[in-house]
Every structure is written in C-alpha cells, then in structure tokens.
Amino acid sequence: SAVISQKPSRDICQRGTSLTIQCQVDSQVTMMFWYRQQPGQSLTLIATANQGSEATYESGFVIDKFPISRPNLTFSTLTVSNMSPEDSSIYLCSVREGDTQYFGPGTRLTVL
C-alpha cells in the first residue's frame, strides 16, 4: 500500500489565521481525500481531490474555508482558513488504491 506522510504533524494556531497542511504520497494516485476527525468523533469527509480538476466538497464544507490544491499525482495541500476554536481537529489525508482508502498519520490542529 502507498506510504503517506503529512506536514505538520501538529500545530497550535491563533484564531483568525490560516494553516496549510501538506500530504505527500510515495506513488502516483488518482484520488486523494481530506477528512476531519473532531475530538471523540469519527471521520468526516471534507473533499475529494483529483489531479487536474477542482476539488469536490461535501455538504457543510466550502472552498473559501478549506481551499485544496492538487498540483500532481503525489501531492496535495489543504488550507484551513480564518480559523476558529471549532476548527480544532485532526486532519487526515487519504488515498484510494482499488476500493480501499489508506490514511496518513494526520495533523493535529489546536486553535486558541
């Protein structure tokens, strides 16, 4: 399975600022996903990012708040914009191989 890395692994940010999370995969993949896992909750899909096309956002998530880039088949970024304490979560990158999704280690974000 693909090896996925994320940067940063964790960060503490001030309200109103933005953070960009990077996701790097060791092989070329068509579909990448970004998830949010709020404290004590399960995973919620934010958006699907395919190379060469606009990201597709799930209900409740908008591009202005969570802009995504997918410049090539091994890399993607998720930006959390104008952060508030409610954005404190673990953000996970995922890739699809066959029918299975594999996850990165996550980025733990705390917003003060």
């Binding site: 399960s42 299975t100 999704q101």
Partner: protein
C-alpha cells in the same frame, strides 16, 4: 439515508477474553465494508475489506465477517497491544468512492 452504527462504544476485556465488535449498516447498495484500527494520535490503519454476505477475512487474532445488515470483528484471545479504536466504514454504490464511517469502538485489553 446511508448510515453506519458501531457497538459497543467502549469495551474493556481481560487479556485472553474473546469478544466481538458490531457494525450495523444501512446503505442503498454496498460496494464494500472496511475495518480499520486507530491508535491514539495516529491515522487509521487498514485491516480488512469485505464485499459480500458470507465473506470472512482473518488476520492474527482478528476475524471479520459480513451479513446483509451487519459486520462483526471477532477478537480471539486479545492481548494488551490490541487496545485501540476500531472503525468500520461502508462504501455505497454511489459512484463517488465515498466512505461513511461509524463512530468506532474503543477497545481496552487489560493485562
């Protein structure tokens, strides 16, 4: 509406005490059901994929089974290192490859 429910929310077992975790699902058409293990502070680690009722998969002390309405993750003679949150997800036949996750079962195995 597609939905996944896992039970129990939390489970404490003594080392060697076998048990089962449940994942009930409601989906218009099932493309696949997936089990993951998640350790604190880490991303989910893939365990199993099940596609059709009657299918079973095994890995060490874990065995996953699937019916038309639910899946079980059986843990035989667990060890403390099996302590983790176990997540279940389903992928409907929606054409988007989207997963729907349950809220997980937090398993604690005591030595």
């Amino acid at each position: 509406e597609d939905q996944v429910t896992q039970s129990p929310e939390a489970l404490r077992l003594q080392e060697g005490e076998s048990s089962s975790l449940n994942c009930s699902y409601t989906v218009s058409g099932l493309r696949g059901l997936f089990w993951y293990r998640q350790d604190p502070g880490k991303g989910p680690e893939f365990l199993f994929t099940l596609y059709s009722a009657g299918e079973e998969k095994e890995k060490e002390r874990l065995k996953a089974t699937l019916t038309k309405k639910e899946s079980f993750l059986h843990i035989t003679a667990p060890k403390p290192e099996d302590s983790a949150t176990y997540l279940c997800a389903v992928q409907p036949f929606s054409g988007t490859y989207k997963y729907i996750f349950g809220t997980g079962t937090r398993l604690k195995v005591l030595a």
